[in-house]
């Protein structure tokens, strides 16, 4: 759409399209949303936002009356929420906006139920075990829902479970390094799965889901690269190599196998961040007053060549 808009504006600037006709041209070429698009937008926002508010209202109401309720009342209330949400999803169909929202509410309410059970019966479960049980419990709903947003919610919970588990079992034994490796492996595997699902045309993984998971893997990889930039030692070098491996894989997959300029731009931003920090730590403090100029020039050079490369790819894809 931005390509269409920019083309129309270019024609307007060259005088081929009059100012008075520009708005009509934007409507005629589908840039501006038509009535059907507005209807879909209002439906989606109304149902999703309204559904989320109703769910939040229930949570607030429960919180207000919490201390006055018995254990049985609390558990029944949350179980009823889960059941109602699942019934709504089954009635409206899990694939639509209403059904998907209801499934999302059911997933969140299941987490609240597990936390409540753990608190009420003093099961002794750790927080990471709660998150793991939560991820397992909602998996059937996520599979049935076949919606990208639900899979992203599930991935976020799995990330949380992994982080908390590592913090617990690695108390004082390089938890940060192992956490970053684990998160990179987890989100990298999620990206592979999302990409394969996208290429298979599965509705669970539209392009925006693939790009969101790519951003998550980029955050984990960049954190790994930044961690490897400070200090020395084999394990720091290993972190740097892990980041380089991620960078290479992204460049190959999204330049050769399936071109996606957005993911390549994220990778380039990661490269600029990690290289800047690495050079600042290892060169800046040792090399005198011209070091910042050299590093700045390198960053500008990377950005210059990188954006030129991305623009060439955009031009290739457009032709």
């Amino acid at each position: 759409m931005s390509h269409v808009r920019d083309t129309l504006l270019a024609w307007n600037a060259s005088g081929r399209l009059r100012d008075a006709d520009l708005a009509a041209a934007l409507r005629a070429t589908g840039v501006y949303p038509d009535a059907a698009a507005w209807a879909r937008f209002l439906r989606l926002v109304g149902i999703v936002a309204g559904g989320a508010m109703l769910a939040a209202a229930l949570v607030f109401f429960i919180a207000h009356n919490w201390s006055a309720m018995t254990r049985a009342e609390r558990l029944l209330l949350v179980e009823a929420t889960v059941l109602c949400a699942v019934v709504v999803a089954a009635w409206r169909g899990p694939g639509g906006a209403a059904g998907g929202t209801a499934l999302g509410v059911a997933c969140i309410a299941l987490g609240a139920l597990l936390a409540l059970v753990g608190q009420s019966y003093q099961t002794g479960a750790d927080t990471d075990e709660l998150f793991s049980a939560w991820a397992l419990a909602i998996l059937p709903l996520v599979i049935l829902g076949r919606q990208g947003a639900l899979w992203l919610l599930w991935l976020a919970i799995v990330n949380g479970a992994a982080e908390l588990w590592l913090v617990r079992i690695l108390d004082g034994q390089n938890p940060l390094q192992r956490m970053l490796w684990t998160l990179l492996a987890l989100n990298g595997a999620a990206l592979v799965a999302a990409e394969l699902a996208f290429r298979s045309g599965l509705r669970e993984s539209p392009l925006w889901v693939v790009r969101t998971v790519a951003v998550a893997s980029a955050v984990a990889a960049t954190a790994l690269g930044l961690g490897g930039s400070f200090g020395g030692g084999a394990w720091r070098a290993g972190m740097g190599l892990g980041w380089l491996a991620w960078l290479g894989a992204i460049a190959y997959v999204y330049r050769v196998l399936r071109v996606d300029v957005f993911v390549l731009a994220i990778a380039l931003a990661s490269a600029i961040a990690v290289v800047s920090v690495f050079l600042t730590v290892h060169v800046f403090v040792h090399a005198g007053f011209l070091a910042p100029l050299a590093i700045g020039a390198l960053v500008i050079g990377m950005a210059w060549q990188g954006t030129a490369w991305l623009r060439r790819i955009v031009a290739e894809e457009a032709s």
Binding site: A24, A39, R43, G46, I47, G50, L54, A273, T307, L310
Partner: protein, 347 residues
């Protein structure tokens, strides 16, 4: 749709005639422009460090950083004006511009210390001057953000009654809605609107941090009813403008949209920032700006989540307001689309 197909569609709609213009190079996607801005921001730190190392005696004096900053901004303006000088010059000029603005900001705060409002106000004016003087898309977004940040600092430090966020939100709505008037207007209005949208969402999203860490006074939050009223007026006026220009002609559909606006305004009594985010989202959808739509929706979600921690109402009142607003929105979501599409088919 390629350029030829676009031209054919316009010919069919009798909006143009003659042979199709030659193909232009494809526009740069917004995320590549964002990358350019990010890289320039990173590089500007190193440029500033170098300038600082080379001219530390000059920077020691009160007007020194201002002079250095103005020289850098002037050089950047030369690099970014006057047509396509190539990506390298563009990238370098952006970094130099950001370094120059940082030097000017530092110089102003130093020169007028311990006063804060005057140098910040001068910085706002300087950034707005740069928006006008440097016709570069990414730079305009960054300069608007810098101006909004300086204005927000004034708000936090000394002038809590300044209706900054309502003013920024109104400015965003007006700028975005005229951005497609023609190419000349779009060249400045589109990036300015993007910068304002980001500033509005950042200000709204920062409210929980302001409350949590008691950084200065709460700028327009739960205790500022004037801020809520102004934002409600801006949101309602923006919705009315969009409906008037492009919305359904059907009276019932317009009433439904009005009901949704009233419900949201009522609910946002305790979290006025929600109205700012909603304005960004609605305008972004109307103007087909998906990135800004995403920013607005995420900020609206964040503001709704923050509602739990707002201290002005009990949990019971919050639950009731959420239930009422949620019920109205769900009803609108189920009923209104059936009115909007058939209404357009009839008209």
């Amino acid at each position: 749709m390629n350029a030829h197909g676009l031209w054919e569609a316009l010919v069919a709609a009798k909006l143009v005639d003659g042979a199709a213009p030659p193909d232009a190079p494809p526009p740069t996607p917004w995320y590549v422009r964002a990358l350019t801005g990010f890289a320039a921001w990173v590089a500007s730190w190193f440029v500033l460090s170098t300038i600082g190392a080379l001219s530390w005696r000059l920077l020691d004096s009160a007007p020194g950083p201002i002079v250095v900053g103005l020289v850098l901004c002037g050089a950047a303006a030369w690099g970014l004006r006057g047509g396509d000088r190539g990506t390298f010059v563009e990238q370098l000029a952006l970094a130099v511009a950001l370094a120059g603005q940082a030097a000017v900001a530092f110089g102003l705060m130093n020169a007028f210390s311990p006063h804060r409002i005057l140098p910040l106000a001068l910085l706002v004016a300087f950034e707005l001057l740069l928006v006008a003087a440097i016709p570069h898309r990414v730079h305009r977004v960054l300069a608007v953000l810098a101006a909004a940040g300086a204005a927000y600092a004034i708000l936090l430090l000394d002038v809590p009654r300044l209706p900054l966020v309502p003013v920024l939100t109104a400015a965003f709505a007006m700028t975005a809605l005229v951005a497609d008037r023609n190419a000349a207007v779009s060249a400045w209005a589109a990036p300015v609107a993007a910068g304002l949208a980001l500033a509005v969402c950042a200000a709204a999203g920062a409210m929980p941090l302001v409350d949590a860490f008691s950084v200065g006074r709460v700028p327009y939050g739960a205790r500022d009813r004037m801020g809520w009223l102004l934002l409600a007026v801006v949101f309602a006026a923006t919705a009315a403008a969009i409906v008037h220009a492009r919305g359904p002609a059907d009276r019932l559909a317009r009433l439904g949209i009005g009901a949704g606006v009233v419900a949201l305004c009522g609910f946002a009594w305790a979290v006025p920032g929600l109205l700012a985010a909603a304005t960004v989202a609605v305008v972004a959808f109307a103007m087909a700006r998906p990135a800004l739509l995403g920013v607005g929706l995420v900020t609206a979600l964040w503001m709704t989540a923050y509602y739990y921690y707002a201290l002005d109402a009990s949990l019971l009142v919050k639950a009731a307001s959420l239930a009422l607003c949620g019920a109205v929105l769900v009803a609108i979501g189920l009923v209104l689309p059936r009115l909007v599409a058939p209404a357009e088919a009839r008209s």
